[in-house]
Amino acid sequence: MKVLNRRKMIQVNGVLFLLLILSVIGCSLLGPVPLDLSRAFENLFAPEPNAEILFRTRLPRVLLGIAIGGGMAACGVVLQALLRNPLACPQMLGVSGGASLGGILGLIFFPNWILPIGGGLLGEISWVPLAAFLGALLSMVLVYRFSLFHGRLHPYHLLLAGVIFNSFIAAIIMFLNSIVDFYQAQSLLFWLMGSLSTRAYLTVAFIWIYVLLGFLWLWAKGLSLNLITLGEETAMQLGVEIGSVQRQIFVASSLMIGAMVSVSGMIGFVGLMIPHVMRLIVGSDHRLLLPASFLAGGIFLGWADTLARLLLAPAEVPVGIITAFFGGPFFLFLLYREGRKKVAL
């Protein structure tokens, strides 16, 4: 195993971090309506349109997008390694299905329940994401139970259990969708397509804490992940407690995915594509790949959401469409370039 190149680590992540900061600023400044910055800053706490657009609608949204893009990409990296499958992505774990079902039930049965946090002093949270997160936790436990093979989490079983669980949940969702009334069905569909629309800094803060803690947990397993990708037996011979590592990765990424899907719905493609793109750019050492993917995922989703707001303004395009539409061809291009490189060698 190669020693981690510290200089490369700092260079790559430094550049990406800088780009991330620039993206936060850029994405907050761009939108379907022009902004008068001086008025926005003058009226920070006053009911003034420019200030409200910048600080109450755009900034929380950009921050949420970056957390979710980063979290999805990081989960994608570890799941591809854990399941040793290049097609693995956060949507595959079954957790996202459980979260969607929870959210849908929330939307149908208590769309208006609101939970005051800290007696309402810290703001209020809709029950819909809470129901979704509950669904995510339940499905995590279920999928985990089904993936045990001789008492150990088995990657192959995990993959199958996740995919089948998701299709089962999808069937329930389609059934619910067909029995609610027409307009309710439309709302459910929009929720399922995913959106980063939020004005609650409280929600954004929750997601950031969740995603950051989860990310650090996963990052700490970077070296073990490198060894696992070499094959389970090799990893075990090299002293990796493979069962424990697999379990931890599953739990950490499930919690992250559950929280993310609860708030933003299913935003696809980031978790599948960014890990591959970054692997092509920075190599497959997980200690470097994980933070790089996190930062790149954040940048990508931040800009994808900005484009989602701009493309058909004043209407907003579901951000999942943007991620697939622009991410797909770019990924294919990288794949093509990589193929040519190998031939040239």
Partner: protein
């Protein structure tokens, strides 16, 4: 010989049937409706008792709920429709699956699709459904009733200045009514200007920042999840929006307004009452508020 007989038979059959059809063209007795708006129209015309099947979404008037169902309005079951042996099937153009409509025709059913994408279409649909049932008079009566409702609203709001309106039909994310939607026409008739009219889509997901920038004077939440009292809270953090500041955020929980049927006159009156409440004040309080509110609520 047999050929001559056959021709003779054929001629006599045609002779008996063609004029017969022209004269006594049987009026439909068993109708299947493929849309809630069509069901409402039939009931409004007084032909609810001829409905042999409706969609699962047909819930108005209450009698409609008890009628046999033939599937939902996007996916009617071909089998269920045919099993009702209808002599007329009425669907909505652009919603009823054209392939299914064609199949029903192929199975010998008479299928009529009416268009209800804007207000004049809705009136035309009422007229043509009435004609299909041979009661043009009833149709004209219903249209006259709706026209009177529209006129009443127009007269009441005439002195008031127009107000910009955001009409929400879904949350998480925010879905609003765009242009090219009959509800947009209703808002206009009710003395409002839909802030999302420029959008090409009939329904669109509107980012919050656009709402702030367009600064609607009235916010109306219709459809799912609309509940009195909750709406004000939902917008409470955006106090630069005039509707929020002035307390003009309303919930409208009836789906009357979302349905392109014969109740649109009623829906219009209710909508206008939300946009210009001062123009609908009761006579006693109206005297007080007439000159200072209804006539000069300029922004």
């Amino acid at each position: 010989m047999s050929r001559v007989l056959l021709i003779a038979l054929l001629v006599s059959w045609v002779a008996c049937n063609v004029p017969g059809q022209a004269i006594g063209a049987e009026l439909p007795r068993r109708i299947v409706s493929l849309a809630p708006s069509v069901t409402e129209t039939l009931f409004a015309l007084g032909f609810g008792d001829r409905l042999a099947g409706v969609t699962t979404y047909c819930d108005y008037p209450a009698e409609a709920r008890k009628l046999p169902k033939i599937g939902d309005f996007m996916n009617p079951s071909l089998e269920a429709v045919v099993a009702k042996r209808p002599d007329l099937v009425i669907g909505v153009a652009g919603v009823t699956d054209p392939v299914k409509a064609r199949e029903m025709e192929r199975l010998g059913l008479k299928v009529v699709l009416v268009s209800v994408s804007n207000l004049s279409d809705i009136l035309a649909a009422i007229r043509s459904i009435a004609a299909l049932l041979g009661s043009e008079k009833e149709g004209e009566k219903l249209i006259a009733k709706i026209a009177a409702q529209v006129e009443d609203v127009k007269r009441r709001i005439a002195p008031a200045a127009r107000r910009s309106v955001l009409m929400v039909v879904g949350f998480q994310p925010l879905i609003s009514v765009g242009g090219k939607n009959f509800i947009d026409e209703l808002i206009t008739l009710a003395g409002g200007d839909n802030i999302a009219r420029s959008a090409a889509q009939p329904w669109l997901n509107l980012p919050d920042e656009v709402v702030v920038a367009k600064a609607p004077q009235v916010i109306i939440e219709a459809g799912m999840g609309s509940e009195w009292g909750k709406s004000v809270k939902r917008w409470g953090d955006l106090r630069s929006i005039p509707a929020v500041r002035e307390g003009r955020v309303y919930s409208y929980s009836s789906d009357k307004i979302l349905r392109p049927g014969p109740r649109f006159g009623e829906a219009l009156a209710e909508l206008a009452r939300l946009i210009h409440p001062e123009c609908f004040a009761s006579p006693s309080s109206r005297k007080r508020s007439e000159e200072n509110r209804c006539e000069s609520p300029k922004p």
